[in-house]
């Protein structure tokens, strides 16, 4: 609707904009400007992913090849990160170790989220199941997660699959609790009540109205689980209850370097640096996601 102004009326002249319009930056550059920490974390994580995928082409040799004549060499042109007490190339082992760490981190995050989502939805919608499930989860949460993973690993043969399984079991209670909490609060929302009143079946309510709204907090939680799983995997391998020693994982390299760390500290420090950087990257992505999803929380934490 346009306003017609009668001729002869005194009208203030249109004011020019003092400040030019702020164009929201789009694309990759805009994203980086808006979320510098998240972009930094994502870049680091992508770099690690690149290392994991292309480990054989980055100047590495066979990470399990022994060279007894070339034991415990200092970092040099031949051995970029030195060699360990069996003469294996630490650089190659650390690079291949990225694969184990990322595999365990992502697998645990996905498995624990999926199972936790299922359990959480079930206990959020069924009172009887809820009281039983939550008692079990309370009990499981009372066992410190690392100890639970250790107890599970003590029973099984060390393998990457078993490590993933053990850490997943240890992480499930926290995810279930989170999803259940979200489901319980969503159930009271007017839009869900409206759906119930208009005769929507329970499965449709769960999958169309509840499930999509649990995904945002679940994704944030999944990144933290991924970070925690990487640390737990390294700890399990470090104390000898994780991936079998034949597979180069960061925890295993550190465990093997332990005997010599006072004289050859680099064997321990190279995998340690890689582990810390990777976990930091995942945590930064998680913080960025959390801030993007819940700006109210961003101000607080």
């Amino acid at each position: 609707m346009s306003i017609t102004i009668p001729a002869g009326t005194a009208v203030a002249p249109p004011m020019p904009d003092i400040l030019p319009d702020v164009k929201p930056r789009r694309g990759l550059l805009g994203f980086i400007r808006r979320n510098p920490t998240m972009a930094f974390g994502a870049a680091l994580l992508l770099a690690m992913l690149f290392v994991a995928v292309f480990a054989p082409f980055l100047g590495t040799r066979d990470p399990t090849a022994l060279a007894p004549a070339l034991r415990t060499r200092e970092p040099s042109a031949q051995f970029w990160f030195g060699s360990d007490m069996l003469g294996r190339d630490v650089y190659s082992r650390v690079l291949y170790g990225t694969r184990v760490s990322l595999l365990v981190g992502f697998s645990v995050a996905i498995c624990a989220s999926a199972i936790g989502l299922f359990i959480g939805l079930m206990s959020g919608f069924n009172r009887i199941a809820d009281s039983i499930i939550m008692r079990v989860m309370d009990g499981m949460m009372s066992i410190p997660p690392i100890l639970l993973a250790i107890a599970l690993m003590a029973l099984t043969r060390g393998s990457v699959q078993n490590v993933i399984l053990a850490i997943t079991i240890a992480e499930i209670p926290r995810v279930s609790r989170l999803v259940r909490g979200v489901v319980l609060s969503l159930r009271e929302q007017p839009y869900v009540e409206a759906a119930v009143a208009s005769g929507t079946r329970t499965p449709a309510i769960i999958f169309k109205h509840i499930l999509p709204n649990t995904l945002a907090p679940l994704t944030v939680q999944a990144t933290y689980i991924c970070a925690a799983a990487m640390i737990t995997e390294a700890i399990l391998s470090f104390i000898g209850a994780g991936t079998p020693p034949i597979i180069p994982s960061w925890g295993n390299i550190m465990a093997e370097g332990r005997a010599l760390w006072q004289v050859k500290p680099y064997i321990v420090f190279f995998p340690a640096i890689f582990l810390s950087i990777t976990v930091l990257a995942v945590n930064l992505v998680g913080d960025g996601l959390r801030d993007a999803i819940d700006p109210r929380l961003a101000k607080r934490l």
Binding site: S142, P144, I231, P265, K299
Partner: protein, 313 residues
């Protein structure tokens, strides 16, 4: 209030029952014959038979669980397969180092993290705040053993200020005891400091926005008084809750820290037990830690009624 306390105490019984059932069942969840699993790959059939008899595997599952719980109630955690000593004796020998390490870490972490969080909240958005939050992210990301080796390398090997590894019992003097525990406590405290500093800052920011803080400012109370008396007191409940929940991190981290610094505590006992597949010992340690965790969080819950007179259930 007494009714609340009774209700809260009774509520821990099902939790502990689930923990006990879970720890007990772990052995039977593993595929294959539990006796063979414990005995390991190099066991002779005789070994497997001996273990089968000592576990009482010929009896029904629930009967075994009942007998096991009965034993635990009377303080008998079973017998180590490797040393043939009672598990309770082995644990008792190892409690002091772990308890010392955890208590010192707790004291250290709380006395560093709480002021850090308070200052970050007070100077919100400044460089100090950013530094504290950055430190928190780092604390969450750098694993315990990395910090441990780094500290040991710098302060023990290079500078030679503190002993590299080992443990001196408390009865041999306070300072030798402290000297050995400083580096492990700092290493173990990293995650814990990050956790407590974050929650302190978050709660303080909320409290500092309240009307009574403005009133305190208006009447001319000094800044330190406002922060630590008016605000921190009212932010105490969430902070103490996180300290209790974070105990799980502390316990898990202690296992690793003890390996790095060669401290002969419960963590080392666990690691040795894993390598020897000494399952009764692992069960005993996991049960003990879980029990302590539940108990501490129960005590914290009950303490709230003292901290905050507004809480009445």
């Amino acid at each position: 209030m007494w009714a609340y306390i009774l209700r809260r105490v009774l509520a821990t019984i099902p939790v502990m029952a689930v923990v006990a059932l879970f720890v007990f069942s772990l052995l039977y969840l593993a595929p294959g014959d539990p006796a063979a699993v414990i005995a390991g790959d190099q066991a002779t059939p005789d070994d497997v038979e001996r273990i089968r008899a000592s576990l009482g595997l010929d009896r029904p599952y629930l009967v075994r669980f009942g007998a096991w719980v009965g034993d635990i109630m009377s303080g008998d955690l079973g017998t180590s397969i490797f040393t043939n000593l009672p598990v309770s004796t082995m644990i008792a020998q190892r409690v002091e180092p772990t308890l010392s390490l955890c208590l010192l870490t707790l004291v250290l972490a709380v006395s560093i993290a709480v002021p850090m969080g308070v200052v970050a909240a007070w100077k919100q958005g400044t460089l100090v705040d950013r530094a504290v939050m950055g430190f928190a992210v780092l604390g969450f990301s750098v694993p315990v053993f990395v910090v441990g080796y780094l500290l040991a390398y710098v302060f023990a090997l290079e500078l030679d200020w503190l002993p590299v590894q080992g443990y001196t019992p408390f009865r041999e003097g306070f300072f030798p005891w402290l000297e050995n525990l400083i580096l492990p406590s700092i290493a173990l405290g990293g995650v814990y400091i990050a956790l407590i500093a974050r929650i302190t800052r978050a709660t303080m920011l909320e409290v500092l926005g309240q009307d009574y803080i403005r009133t305190a400012r208006a009447k001319g109370a000094n800044q330190a008084g406002i922060l630590f008396v008016h605000a921190l007191k009212n932010a105490a409940v969430p902070i103490v809750t996180v300290i209790g929940i974070g105990l799980a991190l502390l316990i898990g981290g202690a296992v690793v820290t003890e390996s790095v610094f060669a401290i002969p505590g419960l963590g080392r006992l666990t690691v040795d037990a894993i390598l020897r597949r000494d399952y009764p010992v692992i069960q005993g340690v996991v049960l003990l830690f879980s029990f302590v965790y539940v108990l501490v969080n129960l005590l914290i819950d009950l303490l709230y009624t003292l901290f905050d007179p507004r809480i009445r259930y």
